[in-house]
């Protein structure tokens, strides 16, 4: 075609390949710097020996022992096992509590009863304020001396003196309820999906004698499915990565009953005097794989794979 000399910058940009690259590159560079390099480091060092003794030089474990860190996680590391089970529990709980609750709220609000806008907006507030603040608030709510949970329990069962964060079972639920009911932004997304349903469909159903409950079950729910899928992915991912609430409220305790995978990664690496980054990164790799599997499963269940 034309000689390179005549190729002005403008012309290069009009060329499709050049354009594609030029538009993709900044994002890919940003991704590469912030995520790809750490990702590669996490992956490779999970097959190494890397702790306080060789902080500057991780050593590959050798082909024969390369899975040592992973094997230790599943065979001897009780804290990891607790963390894995807890994180999976939190994923399941977001699916079983947050999602149905949010869907019900969305269905109720979709009828536009009095005060629906206020309710919708108030519901988002816990989602838009910093988790640092939420964590601190719940830490104080659960405090036996100044919180209200102990006081309320004492009203119902005098002398029970429940200390939420001192009991392994209560503490797990304490952490759970610091985030699980807050589905405000999910609810908003669901609402918009409901509002985008063609009113003609309802009319047809009403003519056939369907009542509101039937409309909910037979029309709204099925049509919301793709959005429920998207929102589920977000919620499940939040459950899987749970960290801030634990770091601020329970610090993994009591008796390590509230460890999550992210908190385990912290406690094993940066948060330990042994600085066992290799093991922490092995747990990180497992967490990433779990995340990808989870999204695959949810997408399959809700068939939300591709919008196009």
């Amino acid at each position: 075609m034309t000689s390179p000399k005549k190729n002005s910058l403008k012309k290069i940009f009009t060329r499709k390949n050049g354009f594609v690259l030029a538009f993709l590159l900044p994002a890919i560079i940003l991704w590469a710097i912030i995520y790809a390099y750490p990702l590669i480091q996490i992956f490779f060092t999970s097959f190494s020996k890397w702790n306080y003794k060789n902080f500057l030089n991780p050593e590959f474990l050798g082909w024969e022992n390369m899975f040592d860190n992973y094997i230790k996680l599943f065979t001897v590391d009780r804290n990891f096992q607790v963390a894995l089970v807890n994180s999976l529990k939190w994923v399941v709980l977001t699916m079983c509590i947050q999602m149905p609750f949010t869907v019900i709220v969305a269905l109720v609000l979709s009828k536009k009863p009095r005060g629906w806008k206020l309710t919708r907006n108030v519901f988002i507030i816990p989602n838009i304020i910093s988790t640092a603040a939420i964590g601190l608030i719940f830490l104080n709510l659960y405090s036996p001396s100044r919180g209200i949970v102990t006081e309320i329990c004492n009203m119902i069962w005098p002398g029970s003196d429940v200390s939420v964060l001192a009991n392994p079972t209560y503490a797990f639920w304490g952490v759970t309820f610091s985030f699980i009911l807050f589905g405000g932004s999910s609810c908003l997304l669901l609402l918009t999906q409901i509002f985008s349903i063609d009113p003609a469909i309802y009319e047809a159903a009403r003519v056939d004698g369907a009542n509101e409950r039937q409309l909910d079950l037979k029309i709204r729910l099925p049509l919301m499915r793709p959005m429920i899928g998207t929102v589920s992915v977000m919620a499940a991912n939040y459950g899987l990565l749970l960290y801030n609430e634990i770091a601020l409220i329970s610090q993994g305790g009591p008796d390590n009953a509230t460890y999550s995978l992210s908190y385990y990664v912290y406690k094993t690496g940066l948060g330990s005097t042994k600085l066992n980054f290799a093991r922490a990164n092995a747990a990180g790799v497992i967490q990433i794989i779990l995340g990808i599997v989870l999204v695959g499963l949810i997408n399959k269940a809700f068939r939300t794979d591709e919008a196009d």
């Binding site: 390179p4 590159l25 306080y52 001192a166 610090q251």
Partner: protein
């Protein structure tokens, strides 16, 4: 083909421009803070002088924590006194000792280290010494008897297996406990100063409980760890196991099991759930309850003399004590130096000399006396004359502090705190208190679980 080449060129140009852009920005950003720091210091001093930067965690406003302001004054006086010899730049880290530790870790990864910093108990030495980033202070301590006396217990406590000392501190955590004399009198219990063995402790606790007085507030952490560490000093065998804590390979030890059984039956199960907090930085209900006059004993360090000021329990009732042992009349206290001043190995000779000079200043008898007098804490120095200090101080809480320090210093047995002894296992031990308290865990369960933890941590 040409198209590809052009797009390739284009993208490499973009990468290059980005890198240049970032690089340019970085130089500017890196230069500015350094420049301002230097500007402050070199105003009077000659630019040729060696410069070292000291980072500490006492950033608090005086109204928030008076000790922080006093510490800054102590540092500044040193800088002023030596301004003709070197530039001593003092930087307060806004995130405290924990922030200094985290920064040091991150910096180590990038191949840097502080000139000199006060780690305030956060132990950076294993990783930093393995990376060769810090100076062994032992030669300097060995050549100067006064310096060695000034660092007191730190010398032995921080001596590593390889015979190096990477850190010393100007103040240590002296820990015994506090009690409320009035509540003991009310219950008709023998006060701690009259105790001869731990049997007296048990009797006193029972007497307090019988009188309807909560003997102590605890949580799944700090105060309970203090008591466990104190009880672990009761006998020769127990002290031996405890002293070897850093290298512990199994918790299946008779004395350790006895200690855990004591914690379960004679301590944790003597109080109700309301007096047992979840632990954590924020959980200070056990302190509040004591100074409000609701509990009879408080397991906390000498520095809590300050808590007695204007407290509801009545300052005159608050008394310090150290732990009994099972050897009649012998007492035990916890004295933990832990990680304090650490000097970077990248410094040149003149800078290192300045850093050592600073540590000598900080551990001198004058500063030690000042640290105690001002109610900041306890000094490690064996040279401190507590009787003279007791005469000198005027306020009630300072008198209490001096008395508490004197008791710790004169205790027959002195040991490190639980955290300094067991490292990460401390967190695992304290995690078991709740289960011990409600009976869901037996002593054997605890030992088995702790051994699992040790196995998992290699």
């Amino acid at each position: 083909m040409k198209k590809k080449l052009i797009s390739l060129l284009l993208c490499s140009a973009m990468v290059a421009s980005m890198v240049v852009g970032c690089g340019g920005g970085s130089e500017e950003a890196a230069e500015t803070p350094a420049a301002t720091e230097e500007a402050e210091v070199t105003e009077e001093a000659d630019g040729e002088l060696p410069t070292i930067t000291f980072v500490h965690g006492y950033y608090h406003d005086e109204s928030e924590w008076a000790a922080a302001a006093e510490m800054r004054a102590i540092y500044q006086e040193f800088a002023d006194a030596h301004k003709d010899e070197f530039n001593f730049v003092i930087v307060a880290d806004e995130s405290g000792a924990e922030g200094i530790y985290n920064t040091a870790l991150n910096d180590l990864g990038a191949g840097n280290f502080y000139d000199i910093a006060d780690f305030g108990g956060w132990d950076i030495t294993p990783v930093a010494s393995a990376a060769g980033a810090i100076v062994d202070l032992k030669p300097y301590l060995d050549e100067d008897a006064a310096f060695k006396a000034g660092v007191g217990v730190c010398y032995d406590q921080n001596l590593t297996a390889d015979g190096a000392i990477y850190s010393v501190r100007e103040q240590i955590e002296g820990v015994g406990f506090w009690y409320n004399e009035a509540l003991f009198a009310e219950a008709g219990a023998k006060v701690p100063s009259e105790w001869s063995t731990w049997a007296d402790f048990n009797e006193a606790v029972d007497a307090l409980v019988a009188a309807g007085i909560t003997p102590f507030g605890l949580n799944a952490g700090w105060p309970t760890n203090i008591l466990l560490a104190g009880y672990s000093q009761r006998s020769e065998a127990s002290r031996a196991f405890y002293a070897d804590g850093k290298a512990v390979e199994s918790f299946d030890d008779e004395t350790f099991k006895e200690s855990i059984a004591f914690m379960q039956e004679n301590v944790l199960q003597k109080i109700d759930a309301a007096n047992f907090g979840p632990g954590g930085d924020d959980d200070e209900a056990y302190r509040t309850a004591f100074f409000d006059g609701e509990t009879a004993m408080l397991f906390n360090g000498v520095w809590d003399a300050g808590g007695s000021v204007d407290c509801a329990a009545g300052a005159e009732n608050i008394k310090p004590a150290v732990f009994p042992t099972d050897e009649a009349g012998k007492s035990a206290a916890l004295l933990s130096g832990g990680c304090g001043f650490v000097v970077g190995s990248h410094l040149d000779e003149a800078q290192t000399a300045a850093a050592i000079e600073f540590i000598k200043y900080m551990t001198s008898p004058e500063i030690a006396a000042r640290i105690i007098e001002k109610g900041i804490g306890m000094a490690p120095s064996t040279e401190v004359d507590y009787d003279a200090l007791a005469e000198k101080v005027t306020t009630d809480d300072a008198k209490l502090l001096v008395e508490a320090c004197r008791l710790c210093q004169n205790a027959d047995y002195q040991a490190l705190g639980l955290g300094n002894t067991f490292g990460d296992a401390e967190g695992e031990i304290q995690a078991k208190y709740a289960g011990l308290k409600d009976g869901s865990k037996t002593v054997d369960d605890v030992v088995a679980e702790l051994n699992d933890f040790l196995a998992a941590a290699e």
